[in-house]
């Protein structure tokens, strides 16, 4: 089932830049979908329109099968159900107090204070920043700010969580921590997660589906393996294969080995190489 769906979305900025050109795509409920695209491919505009910050010039957004209305009530509803975590946490954390910042979305929903507090505690716990509540925002590291920003969105208990470049600027440990958090949200809460990224190596590991965006259009979509089977499309859009998939491509095309194109993770590559070795033996 589709949690959120875009149909023929079009958006042009005031300066004439066409950001979205008849974009149609769907994100399945309880799955992680990666939106891949180079800088300026329209990822951020798409995300803003999915949350109602941007009203598309034409086309529509369907949330749980229902078209989104852009009146005050419809927008409040949309923003409650679809949360965005922005790329730069400094754009999102407006309060010098972590606890207060996280509570903001909950208060805006008009929930009773006890319920907001319960949700804040849960969000702080889940994102692992509970111990930072006594620190001012400006004393946090970049990764900690990012987690606090995610907590600030989780507090609204959205059905769809959208993250713009969640791994940008993080160290490898930070990347795997954040991505594992997203897996947890998917598995434990059944949350639908959308991530914009050009960090290709995380795609086969964490994404269930992927969608290639270029020049404001959806170029291909499918499972990561399906996308990696057509490296030309990725390369034409300033992206690349994950390192492992690239290795497999070289083994296949340069060395003439019978390597599977869709292999993109270390685990799958290991199995594939062992299989090829076994076939060589006799």
């Amino acid at each position: 089932m589709n949690a959120i769906q875009a149909e023929e979305l079009c958006y042009t900025y005031e300066d004439g830049t066409v950001a979205l050109d008849h974009v149609s795509f769907a994100a399945q409920k309880g799955k992680i979908t990666g939106i891949l695209g180079a800088n300026g491919a329209g990822k951020s505009t798409l995300f803003l329109s999915l949350n109602g910050v941007i009203t598309p010039k034409s086309g529509r957004v369907l949330l749980g099968g229902e078209p989104v209305r852009y009146d005050k009530k419809g927008l409040t509803e949309l923003r409650r159900r679809v949360g965005i975590v922005f790329q730069d946490p400094d754009d999102q954390l407006f309060s010098a107090d972590v606890y207060r910042d996280v509570s903001f979305g909950g208060v805006n929903l008009g929930l009773p204070p006890e319920e907001v507090r319960r949700r804040v505690e849960e969000a702080l716990e889940r994102t692992g920043v509970s111990h930072l509540r006594d620190k001012p925002t400006h004393a946090l590291s970049y990764g900690q700010k990012k987690r606090a920003a995610i907590a600030g969105v989780l507090v609204m208990e959205p059905e769809v969580l959208i993250l713009d470049e969640p791994t940008a600027g993080l160290d490898p440990q930070g990347v795997s921590d954040i991505m594992r958090l997203l897996l947890q949200l998917r598995d434990e809460l059944g949350m639908t997660v959308l991530i914009a990224t050009h960090d290709m190596d995380i795609v086969p590991l964490y994404c269930d589906y992927a969608c290639l965006l270029g020049g404001g259009k959806v170029l291909t979509q499918g499972t990561p393996e399906e996308l990696f089977a057509h490296p030309e499309a990725l390369r034409a859009n300033h992206l690349r294969l994950p390192r492992i998939a690239h290795l497999m491509e070289v083994l296949r095309d340069v060395d003439g080995l019978d390597a599977d194109r869709s292999v993109a993770t270390i685990g799958a590559a290991r199995r594939e190489i062992l299989r090829m070795l076994k076939e060589e033996e006799p």
Binding site: L48, N51, G52, V53, T76, R79, R80, G83, I84, F86, D88, D90, D91, Q92, L93, F94, S95, A96, D97, Y99, R100, D101, S103, F104, G105, G106, V107, N108, L109, P113, V116, R117, V120, R133, D134, K135, P136, T137, H138, A139, G152, V153, M156
Partner: protein
């Protein structure tokens, strides 16, 4: 801003800002009204004891923070105390310049001393607040005291983004410096000008992005938030009374001893 770092480590950090604000306000008003050397010094020392004993700040840090305003105070008081008087005035120390005397009179010294000590006392009061209360708690308290929302929200945003902007400025400055942007006076001035305009532009763009981010979290014109639970801090109320009583007692005794 230096004080804020210590406020977050204070043992009174989790105490509701209201009683802290009350203690500060009461002692400050009493100190100002008594207008006496002894009360000023008593307040300064008393606040020092409260900050170190209750808040857990090291006395060295407290003294360090006193050094900064001390310089301003000293300069300010000297300009009040020193003056020119007509020849024949009774002076403590003076230099004749033309037909007038430049120097200090006994009355002037007393006045300067009183202002100096009174100001020191009020600084002590303010430090009690600043070293135990993070700015965000303070703004929350102001909101409860019905200070206009707009003003309070502006204070909060400005406070938060001072740090973001100063980081931006520091980064730009490093980038300029690494390309020799600050060698020589002329180049420094032009680099600094560029830095200022860049910081302004970035702030402008940032404001846009912050607005978008707030909107996506359901912002409808007010930055309403909840704070983490406070301890009520009732214990500070009798302490406030005690401090004020101490100040009054010192004032009374001083009045008796000095005619």
């Amino acid at each position: 801003m230096g004080t804020d770092r210590y406020a977050y480590q204070s043992r009174l950090r989790r105490v509701s800002p209201m009683p802290k604000l009350l203690l500060t306000a009461v002692t400050l008003v009493v100190c100002l009204c008594c207008d006496s050397v002894a009360v000023g010094l008593f307040t300064l020392v008393g606040m020092g004891v409260l900050v170190t004993a209750l808040g857990g700040l090291s006395p060295r840090v407290y003294l360090h923070f006193l050094k900064i305003p001390l310089v301003f105070l000293a300069v300010g008081c000297i300009t009040i105390v020193a003056g020119s008087y007509p020849a024949g005035t009774e002076m403590v120390a003076a230099l004749p310049v033309g037909d007038r005397l430049w120097g200090f009179t006994a009355g002037g010294l007393w006045l300067g001393g009183r202002i100096f000590c009174k100001a020191l006392g009020t600084i002590g009061c303010m430090y009690f607040l600043a070293l135990n209360t993070p700015v965000t708690d303070l703004t929350m308290a102001l909101e409860k005291l019905h200070v206009p929302r707009l003003l309070v929200e502006l204070m909060e945003l400005i406070y938060r983004f001072i740090f973001v902007l100063s980081e931006t400025a520091a980064n730009i400055r490093t980038a300029q410096d690494s390309r020799l942007g600050y060698q020589g006076f002329r180049r420094s001035v032009s680099s600094l000008g560029m830095l200022a305009s860049m910081v302004f532009l970035r702030a402008w763009r940032k404001a846009d992005r912050i607005y978008t981010a707030l909107e996506s979290r359901g912002y409808t014109g007010s930055l309403a938030t909840l704070t983490d639970a406070y301890r009520p801090g009732w214990g500070l109320l009798p302490l406030t009374a005690l401090a004020a009583a101490g100040q009054m007692a010192v004032w009374f005794v001083e009045g008796r001893l000095l005619p």
